[in-house]
């Protein structure tokens, strides 16, 4: 079943074309990695899916409806969680921001909301920090809290923008391991620079640089090991392959000459 369906989408800020003729189909329980250069339109695409940016040309449907009608089905983890660290707010309060709609008590938060938020914190293994001020957590811990906030509304799709950009290596790995577990039940879409890690966990990859090229990478051996040269690829090669219009680039004759000579 397809959860996100994008057809013939183009987007421009003023006159500058950011995205052109984008078609993308995200299946249920996919782990989609969106990669590509800075300024290539990754975040713009994400914001279109989330309904933050207004759609101008083409169509996006999320679970069969317009993005703005599906906000409660999408959990969003924004980029860079190191802003506003002085803000006096407890972890549990950040998570409860994730609640949406439904009946709410006259003042403060309802008991069910607190329970639900605690449940979300447990999912990311941060329940011990519920009463801690957000600013005193490490970057990786804070990112887990942001994921819990997104999970709070029980989304069917979890969307993360550069979730590991300000986190140390071990923290990055544990975030991806967490996403892998979550992916057993929900669809995960991750925008990242960090392609080697992403390719270990993702089963689909979309390279966005104004246009989009899509790859099913669920069978990594077949996708990446047909080049004669086995075992290892450097990130530049991976990007070249994924950035190509189709998998023809994967054919041995298209491998850059410096590579062939090996």
């Amino acid at each position: 079943m397809s959860v996100i369906d994008i057809k013939d989408l183009s987007f421009a800020y003023d006159t500058q074309m950011i995205l052109e003729d984008i078609n993308l189909n995200v299946e249920e329980k996919d782990f989609l990695a969106i990669i590509g250069p800075n300024g290539g339109g990754k975040s713009t695409l994400l914001k279109l899916i989330l309904g933050i940016n207004r759609l101008k040309k083409g169509s996006i449907s999320v679970l069969g409806k317009k993005p703005s009608q599906r906000l409660t089905k999408m959990g969003y983890v924004p980029q860079n969680t190191n802003v506003n660290t002085d803000f006096p707010i407890k972890v549990i309060e950040v998570v409860m921001m994730g609640h949406v709609g439904g009946k709410r008590p006259l003042f403060g938060y309802g008991k069910d909301e607190i329970l639900c938020a605690m449940g979300a914190l447990e999912q990311v293994n941060m329940q011990a920090y519920a009463e801690t001020k957000i600013g005193s957590l490490s970057g990786g811990q804070r990112q887990r809290v942001m994921i819990a906030r997104a999970l709070c509304a029980h989304p069917q799709i979890l969307i993360l923008d550069e979730p590991t950009s300000s986190i140390d290596i071990t923290g990055q790995r544990s975030i991806y391991e967490l996403l892998k577990v979550l992916n057993e039940h929900i669809t995960v879409i991750v925008v990242s620079h960090d392609i080697s890690v992403i390719l270990e966990y993702a089963n689909k990859a979309a390279h966005v640089n104004k246009t989009l090229s899509y790859h099913d990478i669920s069978d990594k051996k077949q996708t990446f090991h047909t080049h004669g040269n086995n075992e290892h690829f450097c990130e530049i090669e991976l990007l070249q392959m994924l950035g190509a219009d189709n998998c023809d680039a994967c054919e041995p004759e298209d491998v850059p000459t410096w590579r062939k000579s090996k």
Partner: protein
Amino acid sequence: MIEALQFEFMQHALLAGLLVSFAAGIIGSLIVVNRMVFLAGGIAHTSYGGIGMAVFFGLPIFLGASLFAVAAALLIAVLTLKKRHRMDTFIGLIWAVGMAIGVIFVDLTPGYNVDLMSYLFGSILAVSSEDLYFMAALLAVILFVVTFWYRDILAVSYDSEYAGLRGVNVKFFYTLILILSALTVVIAIKVVGLILVIAMLTIPVYIAEKLSHSLFSMMFLSGAIASLFTLGGLWLSYTYDLTSGASIIMVSALSLGAFLLFYRGS
């Protein structure tokens, strides 16, 4: 100081000081966490335009200043939501133009007799009963808004983009915070004057921020700290015959200095 309490003007001054301190503590917290300090400064100064117009048209000063400040807040809200990247220029403009309007209207008023200094530096010893009602009513409104809409205000202040995605009306709450700031600035003018008001909105808040784990505790702690500073400043002003607004600010600033020197925490 105790014997001074038998005077009605002193009772009014104390009561006004407490009411304004709590309003300033709560709204100051919102101003600081939303990074709106410069905005609040602009609103404070531009409200002098309202004072000038009220003097010219013979209206109550509070009314004139409130209407003008709220209008300025709305203008700033519209500009911020439309042209965020040029905000500093617009605020600077509004800041100066408001004051210029005030000065010109005071010039035009026949038989000019307004004590300009009392608006620039406060006149807490001249608080009337009507002023007190106005202050109490505003504090009641502020208390209602921040308790009833606490979670929305918290969400908008902490992460407005996310709050918008969760269905919170970000523009409404942003504008509401600005309007409450404008009204708080107007009542604080009576206590410390429009030039010094910005210190009252930020110094107690800065200390409270370090000691609080939630926005709620920060708001009320700020109010309590501001009250202490106001009472201390009043005592100083009464004992040594100093300007009350300036005394309050100096007590605040020295306390902040001591706090920074001795506080060792996260």
